[in-house]
C-alpha cells in the first residue's frame, strides 16, 4: 500500500491545477457559507416619508406627553431608511428598484392617535402606509415581515402606555385623588373613602332606621368594588399582553451562530476534498487500465480501497486542519481542544473518503465519478443543515434518516463538539462515522465486482 500511496501523491504533485482547484473550491464555498450563516442579513433599504409636521410629533396620554418619533425608531431597527420628502418620490424609488419598499407616515397620524386615546374625533384609527414591489416575492416578504414586526413592537409600546394610563384612572377611582381630563382638573373621592363615609353615616343613624340599612347596602357594594378593582392592574396587564413567553432551552443551540459557522465551513471543505479525491483517484485506476494489473495478485481489492481512503482522508485532514488553524487566527477557538479537532477531522475524513471511493467504484470513470460526487455532496450538506421544525414532521423524519446515511451530519456534530464543545458530545458522532466508513468501504468492494 505504501508504494501505491507514494504513487498517488506523486501523481497529485504533478497535477497542480487539479490540486489547486480541489483545495481552493471547497475553501471558497466554505467561506461563503460561513459568512452567510454567521452574518446577520443586511437591513433592507426602505424609503421613509414623514408627513407629520415637526411640531405635531407628540401626543398626550394621561397628562404625559410622548414623542411619536420614539416609536418610529422601532421601525428603523430592521430597515435602512432612505428619507425622502414626498410620497411621489418614495414611489419612484420603489419603482426604480433603489429601495425595496416605502413607509409613509401621514400628517394626521398623531392627531388620530390622540383622538383614539381621548375617545374623541371620528373614531378612525391612525394608519401608516407601506408600498413595495412584488416582483421579487422573497424581498417583498422580507420587507413586509420587517415592517410588521417593528409595527407590532410600536403597537405594544403604545399599548403599554395606555395600560398604565387606564391603571392610573382605576387607582384614582379606587383610592381617590386628582386627575386631568380634557384640560380640566378633578378631585375624586374614591371608593375607599366613599365606603368609609357611608359607614360613618350609617353608624350615626338611629338603630332600626330603614335609611341605615340602605346605606349599609351601598357600603357593601363599595367594598365589593374595592376588592375587585384591586385586581385591575393584573387584568389590564393581561389585556395588553394576553400571552407571555417563558424561554427554556433544553438541548442544542449551545453553540453561537458564528462558532457553528466555523464548524459548517470546515465540514464542507472536508467533504469536498475527500469525496472528490476518493472518487477521482479510484476511477483513475480504471481509466489508466492499471486496475486489472494491480488486483491480479499485486494488491487485494480491499487494500486498494483502503489506500484510496487513507490517501484522500490524509489530504483532506491536512487541508482542513490548516484551515481550522487559519480560522483560529481570527475567531476565538479553544486550542486546548486541538486533539479533539484532530479526532473529529480524521473520523470525518475517513467516512467521507469511504463515500468517495464508493462513488468512484460505482461511477467507474473519473468524469462521471466527479460529477456524481459534486451532485451528491451539496444536497447532503443542505439536507443536514435543515433545522428541526422547519419542515413538516414526516419530511423531517425522512431528512433525518437520509442525513444519517451520509457522513455530513455526524461529521458536523463531531467537529462542532470538538471545536465548540457542543452537545451531545463527540463520542456518538465518532461511532456513527466509524460505522459509515465500514459500510461505504463494503459498498465500494461490492461495486468493484463490475469495475474492471
Amino acid at each position: 500500500m505504501r508504494w501505491l500511496l507514494l504513487k498517488d501523491l506523486r501523481i497529485l504533485r504533478r497535477s497542480p491545477l487539479l490540486v489547486g482547484v480541489l483545495v481552493a473550491y471547497p475553501i471558497v464555498i466554505a467561506i461563503l457559507i460561513g459568512l452567510a450563516l454567521s452574518r446577520a442579513p443586511e437591513r433592507p433599504r426602505v424609503a421613509f416619508v414623514n408627513e407629520v409636521a415637526s411640531a405635531d410629533t407628540s401626543f398626550e396620554i394621561g397628562g404625559q406627553r410622548l414623542d411619536a418619533s420614539r416609536y418610529a425608531d422601532e421601525l428603523f431597527r430592521s430597515i435602512d431608511p432612505v428619507r425622502v420628502g414626498s410620497r411621489a418620490a418614495a414611489v419612484e424609488l420603489v419603482r426604480s428598484g433603489d429601495v425595496l419598499g416605502a413607509l409613509i407616515v401621514p400628517a394626521a397620524v398623531t392627531r388620530r392617535l390622540q383622538e383614539a386615546i381621548n375617545l374623541s374625533g371620528s373614531g378612525e384609527r391612525p394608519r401608516l402606509e407601506v408600498i413595495y414591489n412584488i416582483e421579487d416575492p422573497l424581498k417583498a416578504q422580507a420587507v413586509e415581515s420587517a415592517i410588521k414586526a417593528r409595527l407590532g413592537d410600536a403597537n405594544r409600546a403604545l399599548s403599554g402606555e395606555l395600560t398604565k394610563l387606564a391603571s392610573r384612572y382605576l387607582n384614582v377611582l379606587l383610592s381617590g385623588g386628582r386627575f386631568s381630563l380634557l384640560g380640566q382638573d378633578f378631585d375624586v373621592l374614591g371608593l375607599q373613602r366613599s365606603k368609609g363615609l357611608l359607614e360613618q353615616v350609617a353608624a350615626d343613624l338611629p338603630p332600626g332606621s330603614p335609611a341605615a340599612a340602605e346605606i349599609r347596602r351601598v357600603a357593601a357594594f363599595a367594598q365589593l368594588a374595592i376588592e375587585n378593582l384591586d385586581l385591575s392592574d393584573e387584568v389590564l396587564a393581561t389585556v395588553g399582553e394576553p400571552i407571555a413567553v417563558k424561554r427554556t432551552v433544553l438541548k442544542g443551540a449551545s453553540t453561537p451562530l458564528e462558532a457553528f459557522a466555523v464548524s459548517v465551513a470546515v465540514t464542507i471543505s472536508l467533504m469536498f476534498v475527500t469525496i472528490l479525491l476518493g472518487a477521482g483517484m479510484l476511477a483513475l485506476e480504471r481509466e489508466e487500465h492499471a486496475y486489472g494489473r494491480l488486483v491480479r495478485g499485486l494488491v487485494s481489492r480491499v487494500a486498494l480501497l483502503a489506500e484510496k481512503v487513507v490517501l484522500c482522508a490524509a489530504c483532506a485532514f491536512a487541508v482542513t486542519l490548516a484551515m481550522l488553524a487559519g480560522i483560529g487566527a481570527f475567531v476565538d477557538l479553544d486550542w486546548g481542544r486541538a486533539p479533539l479537532w484532530m479526532a473529529a477531522l480524521a473520523a470525518g475524513a475517513l467516512a467521507f473518503g469511504a463515500l468517495g471511493v464508493a462513488l468512484g467504484a460505482l461511477a467507474r470513470e473519473v468524469r462521471a465519478a466527479s460529477l456524481l460526487a459534486f451532485g451528491l455532496a451539496l444536497p447532503i450538506a443542505f439536507l443536514a443543515l435543515v433545522p428541526a421544525g422547519a419542515v413538516a414532521a414526516t419530511l423531517q423524519d425522512v431528512i433525518g434518516v437520509v442525513s444519517a446515511l451520509f457522513p455530513f451530519r455526524p461529521a458536523l456534530r463531531a467537529i462542532d463538539a470538538a471545536v465548540n464543545d457542543a452537545e451531545p458530545g463527540i463520542t456518538g458522532a465518532l461511532v456513527h462515522l466509524g460505522v459509515l466508513t465500514v459500510a461505504y468501504v463494503a459498498i465500494a468492494r461490492l461495486a468493484l465486482g463490475r469495475f474492471a
Binding site: 504513487k7 487500465h289 495478485g297
Partner: protein, 260 residues
C-alpha cells in the same frame, strides 16, 4: 486471480511441475508445458463466453489466439492472466507467475517510464527492483526515455513500457491481448522482433489478434476460437491447404466449413 478450489489445485500443480495439468493433451513438445488450462468455462448470465476450453503452451512457443468478434479471445486471456474467474476449469499457474500485457497500456500517464517500472517492480516484490528496472529498460530500448512521462510518449513506446511491466518479474509465460492493435507498421515489426527474442530465450508467448496474417507470420501454433469453443489448434500450415495463397481466406473458409 483464479479463485476457489481450482486455484489451490493450480498453485499446487505449479509448484509441482511448472505448469502441467492432468487430463490436458499436450502438444508435441519435449518439455513440460509453460502454461496449461483445463476445461475452462465462463458464463456471463445466460451467455456462455467459453465452453470447456483446454490448452497447453510449451516453453519458447508462440501461440496466437484468433477468431471472429465475440469468440471469447479476450475472455480466455483474462482467465489465463487471473483477471477473471472461470465458472469451471483451472489454470496451471497463479497470476503472479504469468506476465500480462493488456491491449491498452496499463501504466500511469503522469509517471515517468522508470517510475512506472519501479512502482510495479516494488508491487511485484522483486528482490532487486533496481536491477529488474535497468534490465527492462535495456531490453525494451527505453534507456533514453527513462525519465520521460508516459503521457508524452508515442503509442508504440507506451506499448513497450506496457510489455516491459508485464515482463518485470521475469515470468515464464507472457500473455498479450491484441498487442499490435494501436501500432504503426514499423512499431509492429519492432514488437514482433522483441517477442521473437523473448521466445528465443524460452518464454512462452500467447497473444490474441484480429490480424490473421500477423498470426500466420509470427505464431508457431494457432488456436481458432468461435462462440467460446476451440475449433482448431495446430500449426498454421495445416490451415494453408484450404487456400494456399491467402491465409486469411483459408481461415474464413475454415470457419465457413465449421458453420461459423
Amino acid at each position: 486471480m483464479v479463485a476457489g478450489a481450482p486455484v489451490l489445485m493450480a498453485r499446487t500443480l505449479a509448484h509441482r511441475d511448472a505448469g502441467s495439468l492432468p487430463g490436458v493433451s499436450a502438444p508435441a513438445t519435449e518439455h513440460a508445458p509453460a502454461l496449461a488450462a483445463r476445461g475452462l468455462t465462463k458464463r456471463f448470465g445466460r451467455r456462455v463466453a467459453l465452453r470447456d476450453v483446454s490448452l497447453e503452451v510449451a516453453p519458447g512457443e508462440v501461440v496466437a489466439v484468433i477468431g471472429p468478434n465475440g469468440a471469447g479471445k479476450t475472455t480466455l486471456l483474462s482467465i489465463l492472466a487471473g483477471l477473471q474467474t472461470p465458472n469451471a476449469g483451472a489454470v496451471s499457474r497463479p497470476p503472479r507467475e504469468v506476465g500480462w500485457v493488456p491491449q491498452a497500456p496499463a501504466v500511469y500517464g503522469r509517471l515517468s517510464v522508470v517510475e512506472n517500472l519501479e512502482l510495479f517492480a516494488r508491487l511485484e516484490k522483486i528482490p532487486d527492483p533496481g536491477e529488474a528496472v535497468a534490465r527492462m529498460l535495456e531490453q525494451a530500448g527505453l534507456v533514453d526515455r527513462a525519465g520521460d512521462e508516459l503521457g508524452t510518449l508515442s503509442g508504440g513506446n507506451r506499448q513497450r513500457v506496457n510489455i516491459a511491466v508485464g515482463l518485470l518479474a521475469d515470468p515464464p509465460v507472457l500473455l498479450l491481448d491484441e498487442p499490435s492493435a494501436s501500432l504503426d507498421p514499423a512499431q509492429r515489426e519492432r514488437l514482433w522482433a522483441f517477442l521473437a527474442a523473448l521466445s528465443g530465450r524460452g518464454r512462452a508467448v500467447v497473444f490474441s489478434t484480429h490480424n490473421v496474417d500477423e498470426a500466420h507470420r509470427h505464431a508457431d501454433r494457432l488456436i481458432v476460437l468461435a462462440a467460446g469453443e476451440i475449433l482448431f489448434a495446430g500449426a498454421p500450415r495445416e490451415l494453408e491447404e484450404l487456400a494456399p495463397d491467402d491465409f486469411e481466406a483459408a481461415v474464413v473458409r475454415f470457419l465457413e466449413q465449421r458453420g461459423r
